[in-house]
């Protein structure tokens, strides 16, 4: 199954590897440019656009993996009827599923881990000088964080695999994966994540790289109450969010197994 999965999905796997290499190269360049700078604010503003683009690319990365590797992984066989060919060779459905998942997941998670390490080395999170903190807020890169990025990739690919197993058609599975992933990520970011731990309250400017989750007060002067998450909660939040997506991935893979074993071909 290893050879077959590689032969069947080698374009997607090679593309994933190529994207990973390009991202690592771009991150290394961007990171060294940022680190070499003597006047942090100026340089950061000069390469701000590049960081914005990189922020966006890293945000999209799991989605692309889910759509182009996860969704077609099983659906392409179901769509062409080739699962009937494979399941009637000397291979059980379970071996087919495990083989496919093992190859695809290993490939994509290795790529994700390499990009992740490169990103964590390059992202300017350590600038805590007063002048720069508004730009170098670790929370700004929460979605690209050390634990969340691989967890999102695992989740997106599992979602694509499960969608492909359920609907059995590649294009439909890709669309479902894209929509469900985007909506769920938006819901998590906007509604669920701010409440992992109760926010702290503060008034006026806070001299820390915090994540302001909401503000209450009179905008025409008068005191404004800020609700925020402090910097020392960053890794706790990373851990909570990564666990949620890891758990969901396992549930999706369990669903996939159930569907594949029960499915009438």
């Amino acid at each position: 199954m290893i050879w077959l999965t590689w032969r069947q999905h080698r374009i997607a796997i090679l593309a994933a590897a190529a994207i990973a290499v390009l991202l690592v190269a771009a991150l290394a360049t961007l990171g060294s440019q940022t680190a070499r700078s003597s006047r942090l604010v100026d340089v950061y503003q000069a390469i701000r656009t590049q960081w914005n683009v990189m922020w966006f690319l890293l945000l999209l990365l799991p989605l692309v993996a889910g759509i182009f590797l996860g969704a077609p992984l099983l659906a392409s066989d179901f769509e062409c009827g080739t699962h009937r060919l494979l399941w009637t060779q000397g291979v059980t459905r379970m071996r087919w599923l495990v083989g496919k998942l093992a190859v695809a997941m290993t490939a994509i998670l290795v790529c994700a881990a390499i990009v992740d390490v490169a990103a964590q080395m390059a992202i300017p999170t350590q600038w805590s000088t007063p002048a720069a903190w508004t730009y170098a807020n670790q929370w700004l890169f929460f979605d690209q964080g050390g634990l969340t990025l691989p967890a999102y990739v695992l989740f997106a690919v599992s979602l694509g695999v499960a969608a492909g197993a359920v609907v059995g058609r590649t294009l439909l599975a890709m669309v479902i994966t894209g929509i469900v992933y985007a909506v769920w990520r938006a819901v998590v970011g906007a509604v669920i994540r701010p409440n992992y731990l109760p926010p702290l309250q503060g008034r006026g400017p806070i001299q820390q790289a915090v994540w302001v989750t909401s503000a209450h007060g009179n905008l025409n002067g008068g005191p404004i109450t800020l609700y925020y998450q402090p910097p020392d909660r960053f890794w706790t939040f990373q851990g909570i969010e990564a666990s949620i997506f890891l758990g969901l991935s396992l549930m999706l893979l369990a669903l996939t197994t159930f569907v594949v074993l029960r499915r009438d071909a």
Binding site: L85, W87, G90
Partner: protein, 299 residues
């Protein structure tokens, strides 16, 4: 006589409708079986049940004594299956396709598969998507035969093939049959082709087995009777009428009966396989009251 395929009260329900029900057949090993019936009769369902692609709702099916769902390894290593519409990977080369068979089967004879395709002038480095329909079917057949099966099930392999490609395909199949002990179950609408190669028939209609037996037995017991309309029904005990067509004076009956049981006063002639199949297909309710093996018991 060992049994290659045995179904006992086999049934498969899709939602509210039965794709196949009360299917009981015994296919002796070594036979070349024609599986015929109108579209939606349950041919594909029966074949999919046999190789474990579909789970039975009731009853069961065994290949060489093993149920495909209980012992998939034992069954699948001995059985070749060619699914409808000949699914292959279009982006693979022919050699890659053989590689799939070699890597996914315990029993595999690479040289047999390669020799077969070379003899048919099918280039091993050509992409499957660029093969003709006939070549594609031949590659799928080589893949199914490469695992050296004791039984091969083919689901409408002749559909979409031109007459020459059909001829070559059946030729390849027959050569494998002559080369070793091989049981074949072949579903098709092309009765003429089936008659040429098959020696056993299973006819499905509306999800039920309407008739099954060896072609020799079937042709010996099916007759066309032409006689006076007034006498239709008289002296017909023990004769099963499959189809009747009555003119003003004459009646024509498609019947199943032992030759000695045929009534006098009727002009009897034998039925071709095609006539027989058409008569059964047009009359889904006509079915033998007894199993063909027990035919002799009938008075």
């Amino acid at each position: 006589m060992s049994v290659a395929v045995e179904a006992a009260d086999l049934g498969k329900c899709y939602g509210a409708t039965w794709g196949l029900r009360h299917c009981s057949i015994q296919v002796p090993a070594g036979r070349i079986v024609a599986l015929v019936g109108p579209n939606g009769a349950g041919k594909t369902t029966l074949l999919h049940l046999a190789v474990g692609l579909v789970q039975a709702t009731e009853g069961g099916v065994r290949l060489f004594g093993w149920a495909p769902t209980e012992a998939p390894d034992l069954v699948l290593s001995r059985v070749g299956f060619l699914a409808q519409a000949v699914p292959l990977y279009d982006s693979f080369s022919v050699a890659d396709m053989l590689q799939v068979g070699r890597r996914l089967n315990q029993r595999w004879d690479q040289s047999v598969a390669e020799t077969r395709l070379r003899r048919l002038h099918i280039p091993l480095d050509r992409r499957v998507g660029r093969l003709s329909g006939g070549q594609r079917a031949q590659v799928a057949l080589a893949l199914a035969l490469g695992k050296k099966p004791d039984l091969i099930l083919l689901d409408e392999p002749l559909a979409n093939l031109d007459p020459l490609a059909r001829h070559e395909f059946l030729g390849e199949l027959m050569e494998s049959v002559s080369a070793g002990p091989l049981t074949v179950v072949l579903s098709s609408h092309l009765i003429g082709d089936l008659e040429r190669v098959c020696d056993y028939m299973v006819l499905l209609n509306g999800g039920r087995v309407q008739v099954s037996g060896s072609l020799d037995d079937l042709t010996a017991t099916h007759h066309l009777l032409v006689g006076p309309r007034a006498e239709a029904g008289a002296g017909m005990e023990g004769i099963q009428v499959i189809k009747r067509s009555e003119g003003e004076r004459q009646a024509t009956l498609w019947v199943r009966a032992e030759p000695r049981a045929l009534p006098g006063g009727w002009q009897a002639s034998s039925l071709s396989l095609e006539q027989m199949v058409l008569a059964y297909m047009a009359n889904p309710d006509a079915r033998p009251a007894v199993r063909p093996e027990l035919e002799g018991v009938v008075p």
